[in-house]
């Protein structure tokens, strides 16, 4: 039987009302509204869901791997759809993808950036160089053999360099890892320093690179012995000509 408005008789008898309640012809609006508007979950899941859906990575790249990360940011692979918005400040970032070789000169800067990031924070070691030192692992004098010597790594992403699809896969794996995390275990997951340190007695000194490179007196005038030797100094002559013309 098809219910049409003109067929419906207004019957307010108790029996009719009872039948309507027991055998409703459509879904009960109350239950439907409840299903649509009330979500039952745990706070833990909600927290993890919010975190994994807005992983903000830090813009960090030291060599060729970052080209792939840049491709990932671009429209073809578009990692914004995972809620990844590249941040230029470690204070706003949750994730650092170490894209590229890390040298001993870069290492203190990397550790500092990592320490400046707010907890909870994640690390993806991207590419062979940051996993083991890669092609520099045998005879390089400065390449750090894997960033896990410096900072704790969550996901190792091999490749030289890995394709954007691989980065996407690493991010999905990291999302799974975040999703499985438990509130109550957070205290056990705090990172600790894995390296041995000793108290030093070194003195802080002025940095030797002070931004005055071109204004150095030694750069403006040649050494006295050279100026008095009578040998023509083309670099000085060119500088003087430029000065006169200006």
């Amino acid at each position: 039987m098809v219910m049409k408005p003109e067929n419906i008789q207004m019957d307010f008898s108790i029996e009719e009302q009872k039948q309507r309640l027991i055998n409703p012809i459509e879904k009960s609006m109350v239950t439907q509204d409840l299903v649509n508007n009330v979500v039952l979950t745990t706070l833990n899941d909600l927290y993890n869901w919010a975190r994994m859906s807005s992983l903000w990575p830090m813009l960090y790249g030291t060599s060729c791997c970052f080209i792939e990360v840049a491709a990932m940011i671009g429209s073809r692979f578009d990692f914004d759809r995972f809620g990844l918005i590249p941040r230029s400040s470690p204070r706003q970032a949750d994730l650092i993808i170490t894209a590229g070789t890390v040298t001993m000169k870069m290492a203190p800067a990397l550790v500092r950036l990592y320490e400046q990031m707010a907890e909870p924070k994640y690390v993806i070691a991207m590419g062979a160089c940051t996993i083991t030192g890669g092609m520099f692992s045998t005879d390089s004098i400065t390449t750090v053999r894997g960033v896990d010597k410096l900072i704790p790594v969550d996901v190792y992403l091999p490749g030289c360099p890995p394709r954007p699809e691989a980065i996407m896969d690493a991010i999905i794996k990291l999302r799974k890892k975040i999703d499985a995390e438990d509130f109550s275990q957070r205290a056990n997951m705090q990172s600790t320093h894995r390296f041995h340190t000793i108290k030093h007695e070194m003195q802080a000194v002025e940095p030797i690179l002070n931004g005055k490179y071109l204004e150095l007196p030694t750069r403006i005038a040649p050494p006295k012995a050279l100026a008095e030797s009578g040998i023509p100094l083309p670099a000085l002559q060119i500088a003087q000509t430029v000065k006169q013309e200006a």
Binding site: M104, R145, K149, L209, I231, P232, A235, L236, I238
Partner: protein, 179 residues
């Protein structure tokens, strides 16, 4: 010299090369005529003459080459001539002008490992600035008269000169194998 003999046999192949070769030694001849003492070490595979000069005369020698027309320093670099051997500072010069006269020359200065001092040519070719810094960084050749001789690639507090043949890499924690 073996290098010269090889190129001698190639000379017959192309008259162009022969012209280049006389051109190449022309620099050497001109320098000899004007009393700039040096040794012609031969020609390389592109017939670029290689001149060896003592470090005491490098600056006037370089100045003379500039006056001759070599106004462009293509590169400066260093190398280690083998364990216990000399450290070498190399300059590759070219003529750059409106005419098509292409000419190149390479100058080498051999420096004893115990006392690797070398005059800086910064006041002739300014572009040598960072290249001499890099050579200092890697080989410890001290360029006297350089305006700002500091390490450029390695950390400022690094000990030793890593591209020397006798350099031994310290067993830093960061450099130990990751596995």
């Amino acid at each position: 010299m073996a290098e010269t003999e090889n190129l001698g046999s190639n000379k017959a192949l192309s008259s162009d090369l022969a012209v280049q070769e006389t051109e190449g030694s022309a620099v050497s001849k001109w320098l000899n005529q004007n009393g700039f003492d040096h040794e012609l070490m031969g020609l390389d595979h592109l017939n670029v003459p290689i001149l060896k000069v003592s470090r005491d005369y490098l600056f006037p020698f370089a100045s003379a080459l500039y006056a001759y027309g070599f106004n462009y320093l293509m590169f400066q670099c260093g190398y280690d001539d083998g364990p216990g051997g000399d450290l070498v500072s190399t300059y590759h010069l070219a003529k750059l002008g409106d005419d098509d006269l292409r000419d190149e020359v390479r100058v080498k200065v051999f420096l004893p490992r115990e006392d690797p001092r070398c005059p800086s040519v910064f006041w002739i070719w300014k572009s040598v600035d960072w290249q001499e810094r890099e050579t200092y960084d890697m080989y410890g050749i001290v360029y006297e008269g350089h305006p700002n001789l500091k390490r450029i690639l390695m950390p400022e507090d690094w000990v030793g000169y890593p591209l020397r043949k006798d350099y031994i890499t310290p067993d830093f924690y960061e450099l130990q194998d990751a596995y």
